[in-house]
């Protein structure tokens, strides 16, 4: 199995200037790797820093120190120190992300939201839309919603748009932040199946799943984030 991502000694602290510069240590010495064809799960209680780790891997949060090496077009790139254009290129081609909540843009249809990651890679609109329709159908999203902007959708409907958007590409690395939190049992099964297919295709996945059944179904190994916690003793 090929290693696609290696995090080593990653550290994150928030400095809250609005609160007189108080430091909130989040995680330290975060070290793990992700391998092709497997799904790792970040474990530990709420607030221990699981989402922060996903966001650092995606370049959405900065790191104080450490390295996050990613296989990007055959080269090793450090996301932690990459410039903005490189981070955008890595997101376009290498790292996909299913966020917990959908950030809806006014007037943009669910179909366009889900197809966008393919469109920015230059895939023709008909192909991208067909792929989005297939995923929506598989995720049991009612067809009458497809052409509407998702701002007014229910939580579970928005989450399925988000899942379609994340799974539509063939990114070698896929990050999942509680993708099943608002889904019913039938749709959780669909997501479990989508994850299994990604693994079979050789992707490396890293997820946060609070649902025990989903976690048992998809996890190849668990990374215990409590081990990276800083004890929450502010300096």
């Amino acid at each position: 199995m090929k290693t696609l991502l290696v995090a080593s000694d990653v550290k994150k602290t928030f400095v809250m200037h609005m609160r007189g510069g108080v430091e909130l240590p989040v995680v330290t010495n975060v070290s793990f790797s992700l391998k092709s064809g497997s799904c790792a799960v970040l474990g530990g209680p709420s607030g221990v820093g699981k989402s922060s780790i996903l966001k650092m891997l995606y370049g959405n949060y900065g790191c104080d120190s450490g390295q996050i090496l990613v296989q990007h077009h055959g080269k090793h790139i450090d996301v932690a120190s990459a410039d903005p254009r490189m981070v955008l290129a890595i997101r376009r081609d290498t790292i996909g992300y299913v966020s917990q909540f959908l950030r809806a843009v006014p007037r943009v249809s669910a179909l366009d939201v889900a197809a966008e990651p393919l469109l920015i890679r230059g895939i023709a609109q008909e192909i991208a839309h067909q792929r989005a329709r297939d995923l929506f159908a598989e995720l049991n999203l009612p067809e009458k919603l497809w052409s509407l902007p998702p701002a007014t959708f229910s939580g579970g409907e928005q989450q399925r748009v988000n899942i379609a958007r994340g799974f539509i590409t063939d990114h070698p690395i896929l990050l999942l932040d509680e993708p099943t939190a608002s889904l019913d049992a039938a749709n959780r099964e669909v997501v479990i199946d989508l994850i299994a297919r990604k693994k079979a295709d050789g992707a490396a996945l890293l997820g946060i799943f609070h649902d025990q059944d989903v976690r048992n179904a998809v996890a190849d190994h668990v990374i215990d984030v409590s081990a990276f916690a800083t004890g929450k003793t502010a300096a």
Binding site: K55, N60, I77
Partner: protein, 274 residues
Amino acid sequence: MSLSQTIDAPVGKLASAPSQPLLSVDNLTRVYGKRIGCADVSFDLWPGEVLAIVGESGSGKTTLLNCISSRMTPTCGTVHYRMRDGESADIYKMAEAERRYLMRTDWGFVHQNPIDGLRMTVSAGANVGERLMAVGNRHYGNIRNTAIEWLSRVEIDEDRVDDQPRTFSGGMRQRLQIARNLVTEPRLVFMDEPTGGLDVSVQARLLDLLRGLVSDLGLAVVVVTHDLAVARLLSDRMIVMKEGRVIEAGLTDRVLDDPRAPYTQLLVSSILQV
């Protein structure tokens, strides 16, 4: 590490990405007597990239925009632009005629107030057609057809082509100004608070339109805004200014979700939730 170094950090090679910036701004400074308009601003802008300049009123955003778009001469510093022939030119060392031609053809400037960017007493069609004539088009029928095509792209009905923009609503005027700027297929567009003063439903429509045009045409854009939601929606990268200086810069979602500088944290925490 200084901020200007962060912004100028070397860029990794990407097979599909253009290898050279379209616009390079180096240590740009503009002072008004003893007061600073903007100071020591440096950044590169690549083809197809959208850069937002944010900060509160008086932070130097508009001074900076005017200096890089050749509308105001900087006190010191340079602005280089990569011309269509691939050569990089210092815009303040060009002949005045050459600079004007560049502004009329390869660049666009969208003002906050459409009155500053439109001619209010000639027809909508003429407002769009005028830029076409500036690049040498002379055939009336072709100009009119292109103008009508652009009006429809910005969602203005064809039957308004002969009306003057003073009969248009604020949102329509702004869309007309955008059509007038984009008709010559510029590669770089400057925007100064393009959605300022519009009510939110009109603003949403305009933002959606801008997003579509920017990605369809592969435009590079420098957009000044005090509205962080507009910056999030439109831009790839962001520069935060305070008292004329760049205090934070980087990927838009990182600056907004993980702000470092005290002032950026204040700005982000001041956004009203609906």
